[in-house]
C-alpha cells in the first residue's frame, strides 16, 4: 500500500502536473447573462470545472408555508449533471448535493439584503456540467455573479477558492488528481474585505499548515474577485461602445 502511494508524484521540476506553481489558481473564464429566461445568470470555467448558475427572483414563494413575513428566503440548488464525472453519476439530489446546497446558500446569504423583499424567494440554481474538484467554489463564484446580474442588492460580492495539501506541500486550488490523492482540501468563500462565509476542510493539517492554507485560499479568493468584477464590467461595456471608466476596487 505504501508503495502505491509513494509512486504518485504531484510535482515535476517544481511545477504541478498541469504546469501550475504551488500557489497558482487555475485559469478562470466568466461569462455573465448567458440565459435569457433567468433574471440573472453566469457561466464559469475554473480549470476543467464547468458550471452554470441561474438566479430567479425575488418572486412569489411556492409552497406558501416557506414564506417569511419580514424577509426574502434564499434557496440554493447545487446539482451535478449525470455526465459531469467520469463514472456516470446517478441523477437527482443526494447526501452530498444537499450538503453543498446548504453550505453554499449560507455562504451567500449573509451579503444579500433579504429584508428588502419580504414574503418572497430568491432562487439560485447551480448546475455542474463538468467536474474537476472544487465545484462548490466554482458554483459559489458563478452564483455570486449571477445574483449581481439579477440586480439583487448585496453588501458585497462573494468569492471562493480552495487550498489543499498534497505530497506534504500546501497548494492552491487543487484539481481532481490532487483532490483524490491529496492529504487535505479546504474550500473557503469570503467577501473581498476578508469576511469568511464558508470554511470547510477534509483531511489533516497541522495548526500552522491550517493557518497558511487559509491565507493561501484567501489570496485565491481575492484573485477570483478581480475576475468576477471584471466580467461584470465587461458585460456593461459590451452594451456601451465607449470605454468604461473603472472604479477603484474594494481593498
Amino acid at each position: 500500500m505504501d508503495m502505491d502511494e509513494a509512486e504518485i508524484s504531484f510535482f515535476k521540476d517544481g511545477l504541478r502536473l498541469d504546469g501550475r506553481g504551488a500557489d497558482q489558481i487555475r485559469p478562470i473564464k466568466i461569462e455573465v447573462g448567458v440565459l435569457a429566461r433567468a433574471d440573472g445568470s453566469c457561466y464559469v470555467e475554473m480549470g476543467k470545472n464547468k458550471v452554470i448558475a441561474a438566479v430567479y427572483g425575488p418572486r412569489e414563494v411556492h409552497p406558501r408555508h416557506l414564506q417569511e413575513v419580514t424577509r426574502a428566503i434564499v434557496r440554493y440548488r447545487y446539482n451535478m449533471a449525470s455526465f459531469s464525472v467520469e463514472e456516470r453519476k446517478r441523477p437527482g439530489p443526494d447526501r452530498r448535493s444537499h450538503e453543498l446546497s446548504k453550505v453554499s446558500r449560507e455562504a451567500l446569504e449573509p451579503v444579500i439584503l433579504t429584508s428588502y423583499f419580504p414574503r418572497s424567494v430568491i432562487d439560485v440554481f447551480v448546475e455542474v456540467l463538468q467536474a474537476d474538484a472544487g465545484t462548490r467554489t466554482a458554483g459559489i463564484n458563478a452564483a455570486s455573479v449571477a445574483l449581481a446580474d439579477a440586480g439583487i442588492p448585496m453588501k458585497s460580492m462573494i468569492s471562493s477558492c480552495a487550498a489543499g495539501k498534497v505530497g506534504d506541500t500546501l497548494i492552491m486550488d487543487p484539481m481532481k488528481e490532487e483532490d483524490n490523492f491529496g492529504q487535505a482540501d479546504m474550500p473557503v468563500a469570503m467577501t473581498p474585505s476578508g469576511e469568511i462565509t464558508l470554511l470547510q476542510m477534509d483531511g489533516r493539517l497541522s495548526q500552522e499548515e491550517f493557518r497558511q492554507a487559509l491565507q493561501m485560499a484567501m489570496r485565491g479568493c481575492r484573485e477570483v474577485y478581480e475576475i468576477q468584477r471584471k466580467s461584470l464590467l465587461d458585460k456593461y461595456s459590451q452594451l456601451e461602445s465607449e470605454p468604461v471608466q473603472e472604479v477603484q476596487a474594494l481593498e
Binding site: 425575488p58 451579503v111 446580474d149 440586480g151 453588501k155 460580492m157 461584470l232
Partner: protein, 221 residues
C-alpha cells in the same frame, strides 16, 4: 455627467452623507449595493441594470386582472407582489356580484399604487380620471429600470414623445407602457421606446432620439 459602472461592495465615497439610493454606509463610508451605474451628484445613487419592480405608494402602473375575490380584484403588476384593487376603489359604486362585469380576468388596467404596507400588501386605486380599464391601443413591456430614462428629466422625454407622435402614452413604473393613437404613429412610438430601452444607459439620449424621429419621419413623407 459623472457616471461609473459599479458592482456590489464597491467603495463610492468616504463621506457618509452622500449615501443615496442603491448604496449603504459601513464605518462611515459609502458602498454600492447593486450592480449598476453610479451617479455622482450631491448624493450618490446607484441605478440598477436589472431587477424586479417593487411597488411604492404613488406609482402609476399597468396590470392585468388575474383573479377576483369577494371584494377585491387581484392584479398582476409584473412584480413579486400582487396588487389588490378593492371594490371601493372603483370610480363608481358597484355590487360585489357584478365585479366581473366591469373588470374581468385578463382585463388590463391603468392603476395607481395607493398604499404598500410593511408586509408588502399592495393596495391599488382607480380613483383618478386618467386611470381605468384599457380598451384601445397597445401595451408593451420594458425593463422597469429603464422607465426613468423614458420619462426623462422632469418628463422631458415623454412629453417630447407624446408631442412628436401625436399619441397618448401612459408609462407604468413597472415597465408596462400603454400607447394609443394612429396605427403608424403607434408603430413608430413602439420602435422609439424600444430604442430608448436599449440605449437607456448612454449620455445625450434625448437629442439622439429627436434625431432618430426626424430621420424616421423624413423617410416616410
Amino acid at each position: 455627467m459623472d457616471r461609473k459602472v459599479v458592482v456590489p461592495g464597491d467603495l463610492l465615497s468616504e463621506d457618509a452623507k452622500r449615501s443615496g439610493e442603491g448604496t449603504f454606509v459601513k464605518d462611515g463610508k459609502v458602498y454600492s449595493l447593486l450592480y449598476g451605474l453610479a451617479n455622482y451628484k450631491d448624493k450618490i445613487n446607484v441605478i440598477p441594470l436589472a431587477g424586479k419592480y417593487v411597488p411604492a405608494p404613488g406609482d402609476n402602473v399597468i396590470g392585468v386582472i388575474k383573479d377576483i375575490t369577494f371584494s377585491n380584484w387581484i392584479v398582476d403588476i409584473n412584480s413579486p407582489y400582487d396588487g389588490l384593487l378593492h371594490i371601493s376603489e372603483f370610480p363608481k359604486r358597484i355590487e360585489a356580484e357584478e365585479m366581473s362585469k366591469y373588470l374581468r380576468m385578463g382585463s388590463s388596467i391603468m392603476t395607481r399604487v395607493k398604499d404598500v404596507d410593511p408586509t408588502m400588501k399592495v393596495e391599488l386605486t382607480l380613483n383618478d380620471r386618467k386611470l381605468g380599464s384599457i380598451r384601445t391601443g397597445r401595451v408593451i413591456e420594458i425593463s422597469h429600470t429603464r422607465v426613468p430614462r423614458l420619462i426623462g428629466k422632469g418628463g422631458s422625454m415623454i412629453s417630447m414623445l407624446k408631442k412628436e407622435m401625436n399619441c397618448n402614452i401612459f408609462v407604468g413604473q413597472n415597465g408596462m407602457i400603454w400607447i394609443s393613437g394612429g396605427e403608424e404613429e403607434m408603430d413608430l412610438a413602439l420602435k422609439t421606446i424600444l430604442l430608448i430601452e436599449k440605449e437607456a444607459h448612454t449620455n445625450g439620449l434625448t437629442d439622439r432620439i429627436v434625431e432618430f424621429l426626424k430621420s424616421e419621419k423624413g423617410a416616410r413623407s
